[in-house]
């Protein structure tokens, strides 16, 4: 494995880790529930995607067993399941909001200013 490919793999791992971290930072920093939902969606797409790509390149080049493709499977499953999770969480949040004390319409809750964090 040449130094160049090692550098690419290292860069991909760092990018993946960075985006996973940013997803968590978003989860902690953003002021309301629906905005917080946006943090984890990035962590799954970019963070996991870059890490798995690095893994696929590394194991493809490491030994002579041919290209390594099973990293594609978790990526595929995540891409299928992540929207379902986000969808259900968002629906649950809206349901609680409309049956709770502050029974606002979805259109109204979107207008509210993000408060101080």
């Amino acid at each position: 494995m040449s130094a160049a490919t090692e550098a690419i793999i290292a860069a991909l791992i760092i990018v993946g880790a960075l985006f996973a971290l940013l997803g968590s930072v978003g989860l902690a920093r953003l002021p309301d529930f629906l905005m917080r939902l946006h943090g984890p969606t990035k962590a799954t797409t970019m963070g996991v995607g870059a890490t798995l790509l690095a893994s696929a390149i590394f194991f493809s080049l490491q030994d002579s067993e041919g290209i390594s493709l099973h990293e594609l499977a978790p990526l595929f499953f995540l891409f299928i399941t992540a929207p379902v999770t986000a969808h259900l969480l968002a629906k649950a949040a809206l349901h609680r909001q409309s049956s709770g004390r502050n029974s606002g319409q979805p259109a109204q809750t979107g207008e509210q200013e993000p408060g101080p964090h």
Binding site: T41, I80, A82, P83
Partner: protein, 163 residues
């Protein structure tokens, strides 16, 4: 006859490919087991599957997946900056995207695509009015977001599936 064994050829192909990818080996026994799974699983889960419209432009679909990948990367950078930056500048909004397509499966696909692109989460597809309810992290101009979703994704999906 073919229809009786493989009621969902695309699903069968998907199961087979996934099996090959997971096992990461190409020996005959593994592939035979994969073929058995590709026949049995769609038969067992037959009742759960809607009949999606046929994919008429596979090459368009491949190009679309490439475009979608690039969109994910660019949207990630944008949302990353928004998360680190000052939060009071964000204007989160609920946006109702009126849909032209009329197929539940394709609408679900569109909703998943919108959710996977950072910065937008699809919340509901209203099948009475055919409206996709989207929550955006930062949408100072909802009209722009609506036309972006419609032109970039819905139009492409409609062309691919001919619906």
């Amino acid at each position: 006859m073919m229809r009786a064994i493989l009621p969902h050829p695309r699903l069968s192909l998907m199961v087979f490919l996934l099996w090959a990818v997971i096992t990461n080996a190409a020996s005959l026994g593994v592939l035979v087991l994969g073929a058995v799974l590709a026949i049995v699983i769609p038969l067992l889960t037959h009742d759960f599957w809607p009949d999606p419209p046929p994919l008429v432009r596979p090459w368009r679909a491949l190009r679309f997946m490439g475009l979608f990948g690039l969109d994910i990367v660019t949207a990630n950078w944008r949302v990353a900056r928004q998360i680190i930056g000052p939060l009071h500048r964000l204007s989160p909004a609920f946006v109702e995207v009126p849909l032209d397509l009329r197929d539940p499966f394709i609408a679900t696909l569109l909703g998943s695509i919108v959710s996977l692109t950072p910065g937008t989460v699809s919340i509901d597809v209203d099948q009475q009015r055919w409206v996709l309810l989207v929550h955006a992290l930062d949408a100072p101009n909802p009209e722009a977001l609506i036309s972006e979703i419609k032109e970039r994704y819905e139009q492409a999906l409609k062309e691919m599936f001919a619906c």
